[in-house]
Symmetry: none
Subunit: 119 residues, 4 copies
C-alpha cells in the first residue's frame, strides 16, 4: 500500500498516514491480520521521522485498528470493534459537509450517489 503525504495540507503528517491506513483497511487493501511496514521502513519510504510514524501506530493501536507487538511489528487487527454508530466528531463533520454541499448546489441524491461510490 502506497502512502502519500500532502506537505501543504493542514492535516498533520501522522494524521494523514493514519487516515490512509484506516481507508486502506476499510477498502480491503489492507487485510485483517496483515503486516504493516515497520516504523522504520515506513518512515524511510515516506521520508519522514520514525517518531512521526510511531505516533501514527500508537494512535491506530489506541483506536483499535491495529495491534503491535515487539516481535512482529504492527498488524491489522482481525476483530475490529463495530460500535454500530458514527462517532460524535464524525457526525458533526458530516453535518458540516452536508451543509456546505447544499450551499454548493449539490442535491441530496447526488450526495447519496457519492456515498454509494465511496462506500
Amino acid at each position: 500500500m502506497i502512502i502519500r503525504i500532502d506537505e501543504y495540507s493542514d492535516v498533520p503528517i501522522y494524521m494523514q498516514i493514519r487516515n490512509q491506513i484506516v481507508m486502506g483497511i476499510s477498502s480491503g487493501e489492507l487485510k485483517p491480520g496483515e503486516q504493516l511496514p515497520t516504523v522504520r521502513a515506513l518512515a524511510l519510504e515516506i521520508g519522514i521521522n520514525t517518531m512521526t510514524v510511531s505516533k501514527t501506530y500508537q494512535l491506530l493501536k489506541q483506536e483499535g485498528y491495529i495491534m503491535t507487538d515487539r516481535k512482529n511489528g504492527a498488524r491489522v487487527r482481525d476483530n475490529i470493534a463495530k460500535s454500530g454508530v458514527l462517532s460524535e466528531e464524525n457526525r458533526t463533520e458530516l453535518r458540516r459537509i452536508v451543509s456546505e454541499a447544499r450551499l454548493a448546489g449539490i442535491s441530496k441524491e447526488e450526495l447519496k450517489k457519492l456515498i454509494d461510490e465511496l462506500y
Copy 2:
C-alpha cells in the same frame, strides 16, 4: 442565531464559529442579505477575543459566504456561488468518514438515511 463553542474541541474557535454560521446559512436560519452581528458584539456575546471573530469573518468573506462593508458590517451574501461540486477537502473528508463508518459496522443504507436527516 446562537453560537456555541465547545471548549474541549480540537477545532479552533474561529473555525467552530465559521462552521456554525455556514450551517446556519445552509439551514435557512440565516437568510440571504441578513445582517450578522458586529465583530465586537459577537465576540462579547461568546466571550472571546475580537481577533478570533474577525478571523472568522475574513474567512467567510474569502469563501464567498458573506460580504462586508465598513458601513453595514457583515451580511450573508444573497448570491452564494453554487459550484455544483464538493470541494477536494470535503470529498477527502467524506471518504474518511465513510471508511470509518464502514469499519464501525454502519451500513450504506444507514449512512444514506443520515444524509436524509442532515440535508
Copy 3:
C-alpha cells in the same frame, strides 16, 4: 503541586507525571478548573524535555482529566466523567495486587484498612 520523578522506575516519565497529576486531582490538591503549569514550565521544573510533558498533557486530555487551550494552557476539567466502574486494566491490576498481598500474608481486613487510608 510538586512532581517527583523516579529515574530508576520502569514506569515511563510521562506516565509518572500523569499518575501524580491524576492522584493530585483525586486528592483535591488540584482543584477543578485549576490551571496546570505550562508545558515549558513543568519541563523546566522537572528538568525534562517539553515533548515528554506534552505527551503527558495529551494523554490526560484524551482521558478526560484535563483540557487544554492555546490561550490558557492546561486546566483540570471541572466535569470529569464518572464512569462508575473500574477500568478493565485497573481491575486486572487490582486482582494481581490482592493475590500478591495474600501471599505476603496480608489479611483481607488489612487490605481494606489500606483502602480506607488511601481513599
Copy 4:
C-alpha cells in the same frame, strides 16, 4: 492451569505469565510443591519463545515464588516468605488505582466489596 496471553496488552508476555502463575498460587490452583511445566512445554503450549518462559521462571524464582533444580524442573515453593507488608511498588499502584476509582465515582464501600470478591 491454563495460561492466557492477551496479545493486545501492553504488559510484556513474560510478565503476563508471571502474574497468572502468582495468581494461581494465591488462589490455590497451584499448590505448594506442585510441579510447573517445563520451560519448553509451557512455551510450546502457549506458542511463544522458550526464552520468554525462561525469563518468567527466573523472575518467579528470584521473587521467591518458585524453586528450580536441574533434575525436577520448577516447583512452587512450599514456604513462600510472608513479609506481611505490601511492596512499595504495589502500594504505589494501589494508590493510583484508588485515585482513579474515586474520580470514576466509585465509593469506598464498592472498592472494599471488590477486595472481598478478589481476595
